[in-house]
Amino acid sequence: MSEIRRPERRLWRPFVDLVLCWIGLLALLGLTVTLSYQPLASFNFPVAMTIATIKAGLVAAIFMELRHRSGIIRAFAAAGFFWLAILLWLGLMDFLTRV
């Protein structure tokens, strides 16, 4: 641990799950752009949001290492989105039910 400038013998490689996650994210990006051009009428928007949520889930689980984390950290990660859901639910309720 003491030699600070020790040269690295071989090229360091990332774990395969990181690489797979990265490729998966780019594939989902391609998929969502392709699907957005298909005439799915009112389904375009839900499809786009679903894919975005899957992408965000991948980033959170693998890049942000949430899959290795305990309940408390997961709860903290979920809290922001839970409260966002409250904001959207009760905020939109007014606008959706106006007559």
Binding site: L29, L40, F45, I51, M64, A77, W83, L92
Partner: protein, 214 residues
């Protein structure tokens, strides 16, 4: 412990320090979710009020730049995640290189964003500066672009801050002697960078994808 000098006087162990840092960052990120949340609510309210105009406005955005930028940020996020793994395994140069690539990708994102803003300026799509659209969708398009500029500028500020933080860690990657503290710090910084990526994933779906099929 080799790194007992790296622990602040109010903390007991390096494990406690790492947990405190990580929990602090997650708490901060929950704040950030709600910061963008106010904008997201505004978007949905106005999209509900004038859906046709929002589709028309979505078509005005530059999907090529948007898609490339998304790929840049996703890749940059991957590099930061890999840099953290490299640091944990003691591969200092790989850490520095990966963080360097991540920073360059982030700068590339900002550069393309600038090109995009310039194009929108030329097409008179900047509300408050030179917005000029007529027709029945004009007001809805203006509302869309107010959201667009405020949300992307706010996100851009986060990208700039993230690049700054990553630059500090890139500079320290090979020099630091406080390894465990460096790794804990880098993990926290990485969380922030991934979050900036995560916000963009949703902004991309809200801004660039509407109206493409019609």
């Amino acid at each position: 412990m080799s790194d007992s000098q790296d622990i602040a006087e109010h903390l007991a162990t390096s494990a406690q320090r790492d947990e405190v840092l990580e929990l602090g960052m997650w708490t901060f990120l929950s704040t950030e979710v709600l910061l963008f949340g106010g904008l997201i609510l505004s978007y949905f309210v106005y999209r509900h009020a004038d859906p046709q105009a929002f589709l028309a406005a979505g078509r005005e955005t530059r999907i090529v730049i948007g898609t490339v930028n998304t790929a840049l940020l996703l890749t940059s996020s991957f590099c930061v995640a890999a840099a953290l793994q490299a640091a944990e395994q003691g591969a200092r140069r790989a850490t520095r290189t990966l963080l360097g690539i991540a920073i360059l990708l982030g700068l590339g994102f900002l550069g393309l964003k600038g090109v995009e803003y310039l194009g929108e300026y030329r097409e008179h799509l900047v509300p408050g500066v030179n917005f000029a659209r007529t027709g029945q969708d004009a007001h809805g398009i203006e509302l869309f672009f107010i959201f667009y500029f405020i949300a992307t500028l706010l996100h851009g500020v986060h990208v700039v801050a993230g690049i700054g933080v990553l630059a500090v860690f890139a500079a320290m990657a090979t020099a630091t002697t406080a390894r465990s503290r460096y790794i804990a710090g880098l993990r926290t910084a990485a969380l922030y960078w991934h979050f900036v990526d995560l916000v963009w994933i949703f902004l991309f779906a809200l801004i660039y994808l509407p109206g493409r099929s019609s």
